[in-house]
Symmetry: C2
Subunit: 294 residues, 2 copies
Amino acid sequence: MTLFMEKAVISINGIITPASEAKIPVLDRGFIYGDSLYEVARTVNRTPFQLNEHFDRLWKSSSLCKMPFTFSRDELLKEVLQTIEAFKKNDSQSEVYTRIMITRGIGEMGLGKSAVQTKNQRVIYCKGFEPISDQKFTRGMSLCFSSRIRNDRRALDPAMKSGNYLNSVLAYLEAEERGFDDAILCNAHDQVTEGTTFNLFAVIKGVLRTAPLSIGILDGITRRDVIRVAKEQSINVLEEPIHKDELLAADEIFITSTLREVFPILKIEDRSFEHPGPITQKLRIAYREWAAQS
Amino acid sequence: MTLFMEKAVISINGIITPASEAKIPVLDRGFIYGDSLYEVARTVNRTPFQLNEHFDRLWKSSSLCKMPFTFSRDELLKEVLQTIEAFKKNDSQSEVYTRIMITRGIGEMGLGKSAVQTKNQRVIYCKGFEPISDQKFTRGMSLCFSSRIRNDRRALDPAMKSGNYLNSVLAYLEAEERGFDDAILCNAHDQVTEGTTFNLFAVIKGVLRTAPLSIGILDGITRRDVIRVAKEQSINVLEEPIHKDELLAADEIFITSTLREVFPILKIEDRSFEHPGPITQKLRIAYREWAAQS
């Protein structure tokens, strides 16, 4: 087996090991059923960024998933900070990627409460990551529409960040086969929902548009901040469903995510853009300035 | 941590250990994304039953999940039989439950092909199980309708047996909260699809009804066999959508699954049945006779 990023570390219930050595029981429900919740946070200037917001959402996922937590915010925070510190000892330069995964516990086969025989398992993965450079930003990325629809919130709510990720994995693999960098998923009415791992924005006739939370998407932390930042810049923002044809005709398209911040789409299906649009550029700068200060 | 069934064993890529000691890397995609496929097989009279059919379906899941296997049927079969034998050495009496889980491999974060850095991981879990006794059959079980709809096949096809099981887990937890044994999931049009871990049949006006595969359900092996056995018994079988109201008014309802074979529903929401119906009883006997001979 290949050694993963050598400096990466994983904490399991507070015990930190090199990432490549970290193991969990096969009978953990995270492995058997994808019965786990997660968050991905990052540092800005090597300082943990928006952990509070990520914790708020993790606890919201806990409620949506009927997965009560047996630990407190303070306990988890302590472990997260310890894991980040352990990585920083291994790597004196990189920004830190932090994936927090909570499983329902270890147990016997069976879907009910009584099958779970332990407390929640806490897994924290820290490794280095490179923030998007100006060069990368200028190159942007390409997206296609997946032939797959987004999970319906009445079946499995995309607002819940869970270990059931195949809907996105399969959309991504399809994009890869078609030669695109990533995929957008629509709902059954050809309305844009979100990408595999990001929210989506478009500038259409001077208005900044993004799908409303009610359509069944992740309540992205960066999405929220970008909406706020845009309003501060006197940009009109509209959270209403966007038909895929409207997206194809948009003036600018960008994605938001914790790791990629504001990132431009320079190709969508057959449609190409020469360079990141002015509003995309303006919002990237304004978002970064705000993030560096907070 | 509680010790699980002491005699149970788990094979990981051919290495067999006690089930409670078996561990897999955190960075296995089965853990991170639920990016795994599975089958549950059983023995009949301590002899592996329908492994061929389970393998056929596993390879069909492989194709639906764009997860090519790096091992042959013969290699997997050998490991499955070895794991069953290892369990039988620990337990000289029980029938054997066998869960076969295949993950896309171990890798870095990321949804694409290049993130996966190893071959598929093969995990086989064998433990004892008790076939449904006559007493249990007579007691039957209760079902409610989940408020959650089944995953849409255009989002994540239920015909693919994957490690993304939260749609069923959440339906089950809801049933448990409401005091029912398990749950049925309908689609967005209030048509019955299947249960959390089983297919569903109903006798309606003398006809044996079950949802068609095209509605988005698992192609159950026991479902198939029961349809065949019913036809051999000159029972009319209709694979057409069943509205939930039709199910509530049915004369008999039963489920099918590998472990429970033909098993009666004696309560569905407010509606109760005094005892398993005649067709349910007849089919259970006919199915068991066929299974014992094959």
